[in-house]
């Protein structure tokens, strides 16, 4: 666990990210209750709390992040309050979201391919390893903001993440499927 002073340094950055950019829309609660909730969990026991812990759970709570899966197949969307340290593959599986995972997260397939909806959120993810890129390169409908769902692990910074599960059905009027190597 980071030292209290380090956490206090992180707090403004966390607040700034909650205020602006892709995360702004997903922060429902006031900045203050959010900040206080975070601060109160960082405050060592016995020391003065800044404010009592708010009774309704703030969105950027310490232990859950909001992840939205949009399924291209039928346009449906589901937003999940996911625990930290879980992969999108696990979160989808735990919440009956239709994300395939043929190799069960061992980087031996590309069926958990997801598209990160915003460039900013995509850029904020830790870079993909060579191993992930090798499998991702074989995914159907690859885009510039594609990742493998089994490699995206939830952290507090990813609160409000929106990903799209690509549809495999092409427009029936289009021909000319390009085969992939095997």
């Amino acid at each position: 666990m980071a030292s209290l002073s380090a956490c206090r340094k992180l707090l403004p950055a966390l607040l700034a990210s909650c205020r602006t950019g892709p995360f702004a829309a997903t922060v429902r609660h006031s900045e203050r209750s959010c900040a206080d909730a975070v601060a109160s969990t960082l405050t060592p026991p016995g020391s003065l709390a800044l404010r009592p812990f708010s009774s309704s759970r703030p969105r950027c709570s310490d232990d859950k992040v909001s992840v939205t899966f949009a399924d291209e197949k039928d346009g449906s969307e589901v937003t999940i309050q996911a625990p930290l340290g879980k992969s999108l593959m696990e979160i989808a599986h735990d919440n009956d979201v239709d994300l395939e995972c043929a190799c069960e997260g061992s980087l031996a397939c590309s069926t958990c391919h997801v598209i990160v909806e915003s460039q900013e959120q995509f850029d904020s993810l830790p870079e993909a390893t060579d191993d992930e890129n090798d499998m991702l390169d074989l995914a159907f409908g690859l885009t510039e903001t594609s990742r493998l769902g089994c490699q995206i692990i939830t952290t507090p910074e990813l609160d409000g993440l929106r990903v799209r599960i690509p549809s495999s059905t092409r427009n029936f009027a289009v021909d000319g499927y390009v085969p992939k190597p095997h």
């Binding site: 043929a102 031996a108 590309s110 060579d130 090798d134 029936f172 992939k180 190597p181």
Partner: protein, 490 residues
């Protein structure tokens, strides 16, 4: 025998009530031929689409399901086979899905008979044959397709007797620049003890332990940029401990502008070149050596005077030029070289096998279709064959990975639903057993579960995830007996 196995099937009585009741008319009956990834993903999507309103019969020529996941994926790539878990769960848990093994289209069941029993039939039986090189000496002993070799080391019953004896083989030629060629090379170059804890077939492990192979030559007629192997597999082979790597002919330095453009457009190809360039610079040496020969086209297999065994492969040197379509094409330079080789493996592509009554595109080696709907011929305006569909390699050719079948299955099911009005109506009292030849022995899922358990138990005894049964007779005996077979030789 068949009636017996159908009665044994868990849930058969429930289904029988459904078939013969008034609800029978509303239930959509589907049959999928081929229980590999294409077949299983199609079954999954069909069941999801129709929920309570369908039954799917999934049949396979072998008593065991899973197609190339079981018989094609290399033994040292176990994670790639994890998809078997979800397929098994589907087959074991869904009351609407029935698996029957040991039923081959064209043998136990004919296509026209099958179609009479179902609203729609989906052919997902893949590609069980090979493209040929078309060169003299191709039929000589010691020349096999990579498919045969892979099936041999993966314990496919049809290749258990393949006469591979590596005690007298020092040099192997593998023709083709794809991942299957790399699998063959890796299995031949790998210290056999590293394969001893995998599900490799026992007869292959025994043969590899006595192998005299020191050099494996992977050969292709075009350049590194046109190769279809992918970075992960190439890196795995080129960085394998204990092997030397030689790249012949300076192919990495003679890229044409068209090659460079092809590389620019593809991250996969750029990464392949990175891996090759690093390997060339590293100049690794070892007791066994992998040789890569680009721009080399096999012209003939030379054989020994006595016995006619393969002794070498004549390679014609090539250079690249642009074809009218812009794709790189190889043309001979006039130079040739004879490469000694006692075993030649052709890894230039699989090919599907036609069955009587099924339209077939002999040139492309697939069934003519539009988005999975089978067409009467390859003609541009050919009409659809109602209620008949294809998916997987049989529909689009033998390329792609396991996951490629996911998109394919979704498209074919989408196409099936759109064509629903044209589905024929099955006969009254339709059933799979009405389409089967009298002596057929169908292996239901519970039968496969017995084979599976016996293989795992036998594997445990020798430190392997499973010891595959390599004969159909043994599998049938185990499936029907109701008790696990004792571990031992087939």
């Amino acid at each position: 025998m068949l009636q017996c196995t159908l009665r044994q099937y868990n849930g058969a009585s429930r289904l029988a009530a459904r078939w013969f009741g008034t609800e029978a008319c509303d239930i959509k009956r589907f049959c999928i031929v081929g229980a590999g990834p294409a077949g299983f993903y199609t079954a999954d999507r069909l069941l999801k689409r129709f929920l309570e309103g369908s039954t799917v019969d999934l049949i396979d020529a072998l008593p065991s399901p899973f197609g190339l996941v079981r018989s094609g994926v290399a033994p040292d790539h176990p994670d790639t086979k994890n998809v078997i878990h979800q397929f098994s769960h589907l087959a074991g848990a869904s009351p609407h899905l029935r698996f029957f093994g040991n039923l081959r289209l064209g043998r136990e069941v004919q296509l026209d008979e099958l179609r009479r029993q179902y609203h729609a039939v989906v052919l997902a039986y893949g590609a069980e044959s090979d493209r040929s090189l078309g060169i003299p000496g191709e039929a000589a002993p010691g020349v096999y397709s990579a498919r045969e070799f892979v099936w041999w080391y993966n314990g496919h019953p049809s290749q258990a007797g393949l006469p591979i004896d590596l005690r007298s083989v020092q040099s192997v030629a593998v023709v083709g620049l794809g991942n299957v060629a790399l699998d063959c090379a890796r299995v031949l170059l790998q210290p056999p003890e590293r394969l001893a804890s995998t599900d490799i077939a026992e007869h292959a492990l025994r043969t590899l332990r006595r192998s005299a192979v020191t050099d494996v030559h992977v050969i292709g007629r075009r350049g590194p940029v046109q190769a279809s192997f992918t970075p992960k597999e190439l890196r795995e082979l080129l960085s394998m401990p204990g092997i030397g790597v030689q790249i012949h002919g300076g192919a990495l330095d003679t890229l044409t502008p068209a090659c460079r453009a092809e590389m620019e457009a593809s991250r996969i190809k750029r990464r392949v070149m990175e891996v090759l360039t690093k390997a060339e610079a590293a100049q690794r040496k070892g007791p066994r050596t992998l040789h890569l020969h680009f721009l080399s086209s096999p012209a003939s297999v030379e054989t020994r005077e006595e016995g006619g065994l393969a002794a070498g492969i004549k390679l014609e040197k090539q250079r690249l030029e642009a074809s009218p379509s812009g794709a790189a094409r190889s043309v001979p330079t006039g130079e040739s070289v004879l490469l000694p080789a006692n075993l030649v493996l052709k890894s230039i592509g699989y090919r599907s096998i036609p069955v009587p009554g099924l339209p077939f595109d002999a040139e492309r080696g697939v069934v003519p279709n539009r988005m999975g709907q089978v067409l009467e011929s390859v003609a541009a305006d050919a009409p659809a064959v109602p209620g008949l569909f294809v998916v997987g390699w049989l529909s689009r050719g033998p390329s792609g990975i396991i996951g490629t079948n996911l998109a394919d299955a979704e498209q074919t099911v989408e196409g099936m639903v759109r064509a629903q009005a044209d589905w024929p109506t099955p006969e009254r009292r339709a059933g799979l057993e009405r389409a089967l030849a009298p002596e057929s022995i169908a292996v239901p899922w519970a039968g496969w579960a017995r084979i599976d358990a016996a293989e795992v138990a036998a594997g445990e005894a020798v430190g392997k995830p499973r010891e595959k049964m390599t004969s159909v007779e043994r599998m049938l005996a185990c499936a029907v007996a109701g008790a696990a077979s004792a571990p031992g030789s087939p």
